[in-house]
């Protein structure tokens, strides 16, 4: 059993590490809010989307589907695909939680598996004290939800020039996730280039261009990732537990 003082210490450390994450979240959430506004969502709806989902790319994909008035099943599949990486992170995180940790801790940690919170949580030495992550969540999560709300409000009042500039923040963030690993792993670099090209072809070639963007994302992701998995099986360089 973990002592209360240890929990409090972990909580404080988490809060400290959560501050820069919160600042980054605010900026990205702001652009997500603008995307929500462009999709015809109200600031309150945008707020709840971020407060309940805590997923940048997943929320963006969902907002695209909402704008397209997709059927519910299509939205569910797109959300599943866009957030598939969290499944992988969650698998990895499950290895870092002390056996016997209470179910409610697993639920709460699971609710906030994001790129950044996952990154700082797995970077902790030994088993993860959930209170460390809770501290970071307490600083970062409100920035995410409130940032989205303010973005959706600002989408309405900011000049078009500024909205246009903020609209690419999210794509910039995506690039920051997908480009750097390509330096270490050439297969990822080629995959990103192939994905760009395939996505471009889908949007430009008349034969494919009447496929909805959400469906195109699903098809391309599954086909390209499956092909890569068959041709270039990824060797996990982590030792077996």
């Amino acid at each position: 059993m973990i002592l209360r003082d240890e929990n409090r210490q972990a909580w404080h450390e988490g809060m400290k590490d959560g501050i820069p994450i919160g600042l980054g979240y605010f900026a990205v959430a702001f652009s997500l809010g603008i995307a929500a506004f462009n999709a015809g969502m109200s600031p309150i709806e945008a707020f709840w989307t971020s407060a309940l989902c805590n997923a940048s790319a997943g929320e963006y994909a969902g907002i695209t589907m909402i704008a397209a008035k997709a059927v519910y099943l299509e939205l569910a599949i797109v959300t599943l695909i866009a957030n598939a990486r969290y499944m992988l992170m969650s698998c990895a995180l499950s290895q870092r939680i002390k056996p016997g940790t209470k179910f409610r801790h697993r639920l709460l940690l699971g609710f906030y598996v994001t790129d950044e919170l996952f990154a700082i949580s797995v970077a902790r030495k030994g088993y993860l004290n959930p209170f460390y992550t809770y501290g970071a969540i307490m600083m970062a999560a409100p920035c995410w939800a409130i940032g989205t709300f303010i973005g959706a409000v600002a989408g309405d009042i900011l000049p078009l020039r500024v909205v246009s500039a903020f609209s690419v923040a999210l794509y910039g963030m995506f690039l920051a996730i997908i480009i750097p690993p390509g330096k270490e792993n050439k297969i990822i670099a080629y995959l990103v280039a192939i994905s760009f090209a395939a996505s471009f072809i889908f949007s430009e070639i008349p034969l494919f261009s009447n496929i909805s963007s959400g469906t195109a994302i699903i098809i391309l992701t599954v086909v390209i990732s499956a092909a890569a998995a068959i041709l270039f099986p990824h060797k996990e360089n982590k030792e077996e537990s």
Binding site: G24, Y72, I81, N83, L107, V168, L175, A176, I179, S199
Partner: protein, 102 residues
């Protein structure tokens, strides 16, 4: 079908929550299937790439500023800038380009 925004949000929240919580509560050991492991490893890169391009070209007022944002984003990410810096660089280049273009 009549669609409701809150219904959309609830579906997104439920699916997102399930994805994150199920592995954390159910899976106790490493996934050993080579194909599933590789597939899950590649998915994030492919899906984010597909969502970024060519959508970034249509997000701005001019496709040219979209192209510039893409190039600056790829370049700064390659040079090792973090999430926030890359995102900010893209915003700044679009803002600057559109002062001239639009």
């Amino acid at each position: 079908m009549e669609s409701n925004t809150y219904m959309y949000i609830l579906i997104m929240a439920a699916v997102t929550f399930a994805i994150r919580v199920l592995p954390l509560t159910l899976i106790q050991k490493q996934i050993s299937n080579q194909f599933i492991q590789s597939f899950l490893y590649y998915v994030p890169y492919v899906t984010l790439a597909v969502m970024t391009f060519p959508a970034i070209l249509g997000a701005t007022q001019s496709p040219i500023s979209g192209w510039l944002a893409l190039l600056v984003g790829v370049f700064s990410a390659w040079r090792g800038a973090g999430l926030f810096k890359v995102a900010l660089s893209c915003c700044i280049v679009v803002f600057a380009a559109e002062l001239v273009l639009v």
